[in-house]
Every structure is written in structure tokens, then in C-alpha cells.
């Protein structure tokens, strides 16, 4: 029988420590919507999305009310749009029309984001992939709820440096095209290496071709809960520290598992995976940086940060896999700057640089995330950052990502306001030394050797 201690503990997590289910993301395949006519393709897409996802928001809200745990976001991920539009899109503006259709469908069903305006070009780009990528600046400018991602490399294929070079230019163009809104288009655009097919979190969510027609993926959260429980064991040894994080991750994940199973049953769509990520928000107390501080760092960025993050990430996974049979997506600790008050404080205190963040991405679940950089950063430098992150992902067989915002007209020391879950960010310095010669080279970096590990 449930006892009152457990009940009050759960409710304290929800009411005081920001425990929530961050997202129910319905993955929908749009492969069967493709047609040689652009209009028919768009009509098919709109019809399929608004039929399959019509009850998604209501179901998420109902579940939230009944179990008393907030289900913050209801979202959709789709088949990479470059595949869906390959037959009918002849120019970038054709892909913009698909983006507008997706945006309209998202607004109709009430989801706050739809991810999958994407291309997977780890080894090479098809004509359609390139058209989609070139349509991104305009697509991000004329839509509100679209998230875009481009996968430029993988451990199996190496890194497509032509795509890396192009993405540097596209990120710059997107920033310029949305400059009147602090270049917000770039906040919804991410470049990945080793992107998973079942990630429920934006901006990198898409519904990979290895997936079923429709699935329910759930992303949990709860950095505030982990932080709070660590306060109760201050100064304890590493065994106690790890054990405590593991147990907490277990509890958080079980809530996600329950919500995922309920959503799956009520919507009649199979359950895919739980993503075990600790995803911070700008809300006070809902911060991954605060956990690192509780482990014993003055600020993230201090020596020891990479070790503390590695430990945290690993324990979250160990606790989470016990709680759910199907774990997937990104699963780990996110370290975005703008969405985490503790990270913002660390940057403002001068403790955290892009270079240290890069080191941290070797052991976190994703990569350089939501980092505002000066608007005059060159496209080649952005490509260099993408290449570095992709190399970390490729060699270490993990997902890495770059979501940087070269904010038009802003320089180091300025602050950028994105609003809502995207938060605000201090503009961070990028190395002033050039990598243009390397980025100008054509071709790809070969896949790494899988032996002689050192």
C-alpha cells in the first residue's frame, strides 16, 4: 500500500522541484504523403498530421490532470522533409511551401513545435537534401513552429564537410533573415552528428525511416529534483552521490514511462521510447548547472566540470534504464546555455567559455546548445565549430550537435532575449583565429577506424 511519505515526496517533486514530463512527441511517418505534385503532397501531409495528431494535445492535458503531473509540451516529429519532398520539390521555395503546410498543421492541432524539417546528409547530399537546406533561412523566417535539423556526419560514414561548409552559411543566412527577432530562426535549427531516429526533444527531433508509421516518444525532465535531493547529502562520498542520482533518475523516469503508456493506449499508437534527458528550463531551480554546483563546483566551467558532468550523465542513464525497457533518443544531461539560469550565471561570471563547453559535450548527451555568438562571426568559423562537434560525436560514437545563434548586430557582452522555454543568453566569444583554409576544402572526412582505441 502506498504510504503518505511517498505521496508527499512525489507531490513535493512536482509542486516545488519542477518535476514534469517535458514532452509527449508523436512521431509520424510522412513517406506515404509523397507525390509528384507539390500541392497533393502538401494536402496529404496536412491531412495525415491533422488526423493522427488531432487528440494529442487534449490527451496530454488529460493525463497531466489525472496524475497531477504537468505534461509541458505536446509535439510532433516527422520523416525528414527532404525525403518527403524529393519527388515534387524543384526549388528551395517548394520546400518553403511544405514548411508552411507543416506550420499550419501544427497550429491546427495545437502542438507548440513540429520537428523534422530535416535532411540526413551524413555522407552525401541528394538534390532534394540541398534544396531543403537552402530553403531553411526562408522557411524559418515565415513559420513559427517549425524546427529544422541537418545531420552532417556519423560514426559509420564520417563527416560530410561539404554539408558542414554549407550549414555555416545557412546558419548565418537564417540569423540575417530573422534579425528583427534577435535571429530566433537559429534557435530552432540544429546541426547534428549521429542523430537518433527517435529523439522527442526539439530542435533535433525527426521521425527516422527506421521507425513505424506512428509512435509515441516521451521526454522526461527533472534537474530540479536531482538538485534538491543532492542538497540532502552534501559532502557525501562518490558512492552515495552516484546512488542518490541513480535512484532519483529511476523515479523521474517511471513517471515518464507511466505517461508514455497512458498516452500510447489512449491514442491507439504504439509506445516508442523514453528519453531520459535532464532538460533544464529558464525557471529558477530547474537547472543542470545547479546540480554541477551542488556536486561541488563554484560554477560550471571550473576544473572538474567535465568529470562532474560525466558522472551525472552516466548515473542518470543507469537509473533510467532500470525504470523503462525502451530507452532511446538522446538520454543524458542537456547543457544549453540560454535555457539554464546557472549556465547563464557561469558565462556572466567569466567561468564558462565555448571551449570548455566543447569539452563538456564529450560526455553530455548532446552538444553546444543554445549559445549566442557575435553576429559578425564568419560562416567558416561556424562551420569549424560544427566540424569540431561532429568529430567528437564521430570518434566517440555519440550524438553531438551545434545550435549556435550568431545574433545579427550583437557583440560579446550583449544579451539576447528569445522568450519562453528558449530563455535568454549572453553573447559568448568565438576564437578570432581563422579556419577558412580547412573549411574551403571539398569532400568528406572518412569514417574512423573502430579498433586500436586509445
Amino acid at each position: 500500500m502506498i504510504n503518505s511519505y511517498e505521496v508527499f515526496e512525489t507531490n513535493k517533486m512536482i509542486l516545488e522541484e519542477n518535476l514534469d514530463v517535458r514532452t509527449i512527441t508523436m512521431g509520424i511517418s510522412l513517406l506515404d504523403c509523397a507525390d509528384s505534385s507539390l500541392k497533393t503532397t502538401c494536402d496529404n501531409i496536412y491531412a495525415k498530421l491533422t488526423t493522427l495528431a488531432k487528440d494529442l494535445v487534449k490527451t496530454g492535458d488529460d493525463i497531466g490532470r489525472e496524475f497531477g503531473v504537468p505534461v509541458v509540451n505536446k509535439r510532433i516529429s516527422i520523416t525528414p522533409a527532404a525525403l518527403v519532398g524529393a519527388r515534387c520539390c524543384r526549388k528551395p521555395s517548394d520546400f518553403v511551401r511544405i514548411a508552411k503546410t507543416l506550420d499550419k498543421a501544427a497550429k491546427k492541432v495545437g502542438v507548440n513545435f513540429i520537428g523534422g524539417f530535416s535532411a540526413v546528409v551524413s555522407k552525401g547530399m541528394t538534390k532534394a537534401d540541398e534544396l531543403l537546406i537552402r530553403s531553411i533561412p526562408e522557411a524559418m523566417a515565415v513559420t513559427d513552429r517549425i524546427c529544422s535539423s541537418v545531420n552532417v556526419g556519423s560514426t559509420k560514414t564520417g563527416i560530410n564537410m561539404d554539408a558542414v561548409r554549407l550549414m555555416g552559411e545557412i546558419i548565418k543566412a537564417t540569423a540575417e533573415r530573422t534579425k528583427e527577432r534577435d535571429s530566433i530562426g537559429c534557435a530552432k535549427l540544429v546541426v547534428l552528428c549521429n542523430a537518433p531516429d527517435d529523439n522527442p526533444f526539439m530542435a533535433g527531433a525527426f521521425h527516422g525511416v527506421s521507425e513505424a508509421d506512428a509512435i509515441i516518444n516521451v521526454g522526461v525532465s527533472g534537474p530540479g529534483v536531482v538538485n534538491h535531493v543532492l542538497k540532502t547529502i552534501r559532502g557525501a562520498d562518490f558512492e552515495t552521490l552516484c546512488e542518490t542520482i541513480k535512484k532519483t533518475a529511476f523515479k523521474i523516469t517511471r513517471v515518464g514511462q507511466l505517461v508514455a503508456q497512458e498516452a500510447s493506449a489512449r491514442l491507439g499508437i504504439p509506445f516508442g521510447i523514453i528519453d531520459l534527458s535532464l532538460a533544464p528550463t529558464p525557471a529558477i531551480g530547474d537547472s543542470v548547472a545547479d546540480i554541477l554546483k551542488e556536486i561541488g563546483l563554484e560554477h560550471p566551467g571550473a576544473p572538474g566540470t567535465t568529470a562532474a558532468l560525466a558522472l551525472l550523465n552516466d548515473q542518470v542513464k543507469k537509473g533510467g534504464v532500470m525504470a523503462s525497457s525502451y530507452v532511446g533518443g538522446l538520454s543524458g544531461a542537456f547543457i544549453p546555455v540560454s535555457e539554464d539560469q546557472g549556465m547563464i550565471d557561469a558565462v556572466n561570471a567569466g567561468a564558462l567559455s565555448i571551449e570548455k563547453l566543447e569539452a563538456m559535450t564529450c560526455v553530455c548527451s548532446v552538444g553546444l546548445d543554445m549559445i549566442a555568438i557575435p553576429g559578425d562571426t564568419s560562416a567558416a568559423s561556424i562551420s569549424g565549430i560544427i566540424a569540431d562537434e561532429s568529430a567528437i560525436g564521430m570518434i566517440n560514437q555519440k550524438t553531438t550537435a551545434v545550435r549556435v545563434i550568431p545574433v545579427a548586430g550583437k557583440k560579446v557582452g550583449d544579451t539576447v532575449e528569445f522568450g519562453g522555454l528558449l530563455g535568454y543568453a549572453p553573447v559568448m566569444a568565438v576564437s578570432r583565429f581563422s579556419c577558412e583554409g580547412m573549411i574551403a576544402r571539398k569532400g568528406r572526412i572518412p569514417a574512423p577506424i573502430h579498433s586500436f582505441k586509445n
Binding site: N3, S4, E6, V7, R65, F67
Partner: protein, 90 residues
Amino acid sequence: MKKAIITVVGKDVVGIIAKTSAYLAKNNINILDISQTVVQEYFNMMMIVDISSCRKNFEAFSSGLSDLGSEMGLKIRCQKSEIFEKMHRV
């Protein structure tokens, strides 16, 4: 049986249990277990109830409880029991 957990938290006043139980009886809800503590004038109560024969749908029933709580200056929450079972039991 469909179980739900009702929690009441707030400053102790006369009639908390009486009013809550009356609301439950009116809605055909059976109380399976009840426990309470008062710490420094703060009232903490947990009830396990059977909602399978509830006269209202869950949303209406639980918002009625929450309104009753507001009248007494208390926070009353009603949640389906699975969230607690899942979180605390392997």
C-alpha cells in the same frame, strides 16, 4: 477498483475531514485509508479512495475538491494512484 489519492495540505481549521468526507460521500466515493498529521499548525492528510463508482467524471470531481480546498484556504489535490505506485515500486 480504481484508486485515487487525495492530499490535503494547509493551515489546520475546523471541519477539514468533515467537509472533505461529505463531498466524497455525495459523489459515491468510498474511503479506503486515511492518515493525517498536524505539524506546527500545518495539516497534512492523505486519503486513498475508490473512484470506480464516482458520480462525476474525474476532471469535474477533482476540480470540485480543489474548489472545496480553496474555500477552506487549503490545497486539495486528487491524483490517480498509479503515479505513486510506479514511482516508488519496482
